[in-house]
Structures are given as C-alpha cells and as structure tokens.
Amino acid sequence: MVNSKYFFKGFKLIKSLDSPALALGASFIAIGALLKNIGFNLEQSIFSTFLTYALPGSLVMAESFLVGASLINIFLAVWLVNTRLYPMTVSLMPLLLHKSQPRWKYYLSCHFIAVSAWLIMKGNYQSIGKKHRIDFWIGIGTGTWLIAIVSTIIGFLASDYLNKDMMIGLAIVNPVYFTCMMVGEMKNLQINLSIILGAILGPAFFFISPEWSILYGGVLAGTVAYFIGELK
C-alpha cells in the first residue's frame, strides 16, 4: 500500500515554515462561512470541501447556487474555472510515475491537485527518489486536504462572529500567500517569464472575456515563455 515513511514525510510538511496551512485555513474558513450564509448545513459544507477541494470551484458553485443557476450551468462554470487543473496535473504526474506503483494511487491522489499541494510538491519532489514520490505526494495531499476540511468546519461554526473586516482580511491571505510562493519558485528564465507574463495577461484578458481570461491569458503567456526559453 502506501509507504508510511514517505507518507508522513510529506504529511509533516504542513508544519513547516513555508506551510500552506495558514493560507489554506484562512480561505476555507471563508468558504465555510460563505456556505453557511447561502443555506448549506454543516454536513453539506464538509461534504463539499471533501469532494471538491479546489477553492475557485467552490466559490463559483456558491455564486451559481445563489442565483439559482441550473445544474448544467453550474457544471460548465466550475469546469471552466477548474480547467487549470489539467495543465497542473500533466506537469506534475510524470514526475511521480513509477512502474512499481499501482495506477489507482495516481487516479485517487489526483484529487489532491490544488495550487497549495501542487506548489509544495513542485518545490520538494527532487529530494525524494522517484519510486517513493507518489507516497510522499499522498502525504502532502492528505495534510492539505485535512486542513481544508477542518477549516471549513471552523468557518461554518464561526460565521456569526466573522465581521466584514475579518472576511476581507481572510480573503487577501490566499492571493498573498500564493504570490509569495510563486516569487519563491522563480528559478529559471522559462518559469520566471511564465509567471510574469501570466500575471500581466490574466488581468489584461479580463477586458476581452472575464470567463476565459485566465485560460486565454495563461495559455498565451505560457506558450510565449516556453518558446523564448527554448530559443535561449
């Protein structure tokens, strides 16, 4: 099954200095409070984070639910905002693939792919032998996922005590954390250009198409960065 030594090595990263615990916690506390406010009960809120575990998707779900969107529309809106998980998976899983490991581990643990776990894995995979990377990844994923679930519960229960200022404060923690993580990841020309161009083109494309801006801006920025990097 899962090698516990590597599992816990990954799991324990949530206690480290660059741990996403704080940022994830802050955002999922906000999600818990939001779900309560739109009429979910505690079990449904837990169920939602348990099964989805991707922040932008949960936000889109909440917004669509509030305006009474149809299930098809909710599906399309969530699928669109979470398409970014596709390039994230394709750029992570080949690093973890090993012949001796069963396939179910990959199909199950891809559920943990979200910005936080992905960035931690990208920053740490080289320190682990290829054979054990999937177990290490399952550890990281389980840790971050549990934080998200526990924080959803806290947010749901504390929602009456969270005022507007606290909600605004909680909302900035996530983008600040990820901006810092991305700056910390800037190590070579291709990645640096991808990040800088993406940060410019994402908001720029918002003027053309709010829904598609992240995909258009991101794919264009990444492709330009790739070719410039290959030319050098």
């Binding site: 169920f47 899983m93 693939l97 990444g222 790739y226």
Partner: protein, 110 residues
C-alpha cells in the same frame, strides 16, 4: 429529504465531478508524457502562467468580499508582503498574517 437539501447534494456532486474531470484527464495524458519531453516543459510553463493569471486576477478583479476594498490598497498590501517575504528568509507566516491585518486596517482608515 426536502427538495432544497437534495438539490444542494446534487450541486455538490456536479461541482466535484466538474473539478475531478480535469484532474482525471490530466493523469490519463500523463501516462504518455515523459518528464524530459518538450511537451512536458510546455505544460509546465502553462501551469505556472495559468496560476499566475488566476492569482493576479483575484488581486486585480476580485469577486466577493475583496471587491469592497480599493485596488491600490490591495496592490500595496501584496507588494509589502512580498518584500517582507524576500527580506525575512522567505518565511511565509509573517507576510500572510500581516497582509490580513494591514488590509483590514487600511480599508477602514484610508
């Protein structure tokens, strides 16, 4: 089960299916992609740029609570936090905690 709560369950199931789909297809594609290949490098660039685009969009054009703060205050808070991160041995705890307090304060008193 009342109609509303069965509806909520359906909404959650549809959301999680729409989310898992991209992850699942990503694993299917990964089976054929070598980490040394050009296509892997290209997807790697796209993954980073899509994330950067997403984060930048949340800061510049936020939805929800954040949209009630001024964009210049948000940008100021992000810049201060990144500088703090870089000059503090890349510790992430201080800048994230500071950013929440700073934004709440500036949003009230500016």
């Amino acid at each position: 089960m009342s109609e509303i709560s069965s509806n909520i369950i359906l909404v959650i199931l549809v959301t999680s299916f729409a989310t898992y789909l991209s992850r699942f297809l990503g694993v299917v594609s990964s089976e054929k992609i070598k980490e040394t290949s050009k296509i892997f490098k290209w997807f790697n660039c796209i993954a980073y740029s899509v994330l950067a685009a997403l984060i930048a969009r949340v800061i510049v054009f936020p939805a929800g609570e954040l949209s009630e703060s001024d964009i210049f205050i948000r940008l100021f808070v992000v810049v201060v936090s990144v500088v703090m991160f870089l000059f503090n041995k890349r510790n992430l705890v201080y800048p994230t905690v500071l950013s929440a307090i700073l934004l709440a304060l500036l949003n009230n008193y500016l």
